[in-house]
């Protein structure tokens, strides 16, 4: 007889149960779907792959050590909280200064859709990464949580400990500013009007 849906036993509830019993493999399986979210946030904070991985590993170990007290309704939110805590340790001023005011997007028309194949080009990738690191830190954090990791805005706000409206502002600012930074690198625009053309 064919196996009966063994995948059922990989459900988050059961993995949580195994992890509660001290099964570190189960805990790793729980962490796995969120590695990208963890890594991208760590990367925009540290700006460097090795430091980013170190930060994620420290956060995951810390989460594991505190797993006995896990009682959250969302494992992802709970886990990302440890990364934010790690980030706060490395940045004495915290990671979320209010930096979302005073930005006006440039006026550009006929912005064409960028082919995703551009990311095959290491030079373009590096340019985009550098552009991301030029964003205010709060904006970077929301941008990668929302756009890199696909986490809903309300949850991004919860993870970062800010209001949802502030998270939305950060995201808007990040997307607009990154769009302009990309334009400055000559990527993806057909006609850029002079900078004073903002509305």
């Amino acid at each position: 007889m064919a196996a009966t849906a063994p995948r059922r036993f990989e459900s988050e509830e059961l993995l949580l149960g195994r992890a509660r019993l001290g099964d570190e493999k189960a805990f790793c399986t729980l962490v796995h779907p969120h590695e990208r979210a963890l890594y991208t946030v760590a990367w925009v904070i540290t700006g460097e792959p090795q430091s980013a991985e170190d930060m994620v590993q420290r956060a995951a170990v810390s989460a594991w050590m505190h797993f006995g007290g896990y009682a959250s309704s969302s494992f992802r939110t709970w886990l990302l909280g440890f990364l934010v805590a790690e980030a706060r340790k490395t940045r004495s001023g915290g990671i979320l200064p209010a930096e979302t005011d005073g930005f006006t997007p440039r006026h550009m028309e006929d912005w064409e859709a960028l082919p995703s194949g551009l990311l095959e080009d290491p030079a373009f990738r590096e340019r985009l990464q550098r552009a991301m690191l030029k964003l205010p830190l709060a904006c970077r954090a929301v941008l990668v949580l929302r756009d890199c990791a696909g986490i809903p805005v309300a949850e991004c706000a919860q993870v970062l400990g800010i209001g949802e409206a502030e998270a939305r502002n950060c995201l808007l600012r990040a997307r607009l500013q990154l769009r302009d930074l990309l334009a400055e690198t000559g990527s993806g625009r057909r006609r850029a009007h002079k900078k004073g053309g903002a509305r």
């Binding site: 949580l16 992890a19 019993l21 790793c28 028309e109 064409e112 551009l118 990311l119």
Partner: protein, 282 residues
Amino acid sequence: MTSHAKCAGLRSALSSYMDGILDAKGVARVESHVRECAHCRSLLTGMQNVARLAKDPRLLPLPGGFAGRLQANLRQCGAAPAQAHRSADVPMGITPDLVPVGSHLIYFWQTPAEFKSGVRFLHPGLGKDEHCIIFGHDEALSDVQNTLRSDGYDPEALKEQGKLTVLRRHAAAGTTLGEISQAVEKAMAAGATLIRFLGNLGLGRDPLPAGEDDVLELERRATSLLEHLPCIIVCMYDVRTVPGRLIFKGGLETHSLSVNSEGVQHNPFYVDGHVHAPRLVQ
């Protein structure tokens, strides 16, 4: 509202539009505006470009071997608070022995007193943060619950509290395992840290739902499931009614541990289910 003021007012809505968090009226307002306004259309397209590029895993690829290093780090960091439960084996109830989580034990019984002793497997878990499942044919389920009552437990209350599940054997192994998995998931979701599963094999009024080989299949696959579950299984075989072939192929070959009045011991007849499973069901 002037055109410029309208653009400024809609700017934050563009981002929310991308995130799908606008109501129908807001969506209509944005779509109508960007059709007419080249500037806002450009903002939206540009932001959509940014979101699409950011979503692409090639932008910030995860370092290779990330998961393996994480697991190694977790092992190195020592026991998490939760590990105390795992490293201390759990009481098995029938005897004073402790057994590891994941154990699958065979218990042969012949007399009512031996049956009553077998049901004691459930005692350490009842009313705690564990969940108990009893499984078998109608007569066995009734006898287990009566035994619990005589031991001072209230099966009906335990069922209502979500501490006890009674599963009737009525179908073939595949369906049965599905039902077991559902019961386990429900218990784990409710916060159970350990599942005690008491299976009963014996011939009651009704015949085996899918024959002897299906029982062997169920036993073999139950062992495989244990690798993935915080669970202990004790299978009680009524040697008065179970055929000799099932006692040998099921009772002896599919359980790594056995328990009797003298205690828990390794079962020398156990055959690794992964290696010999196909032979079992031929």
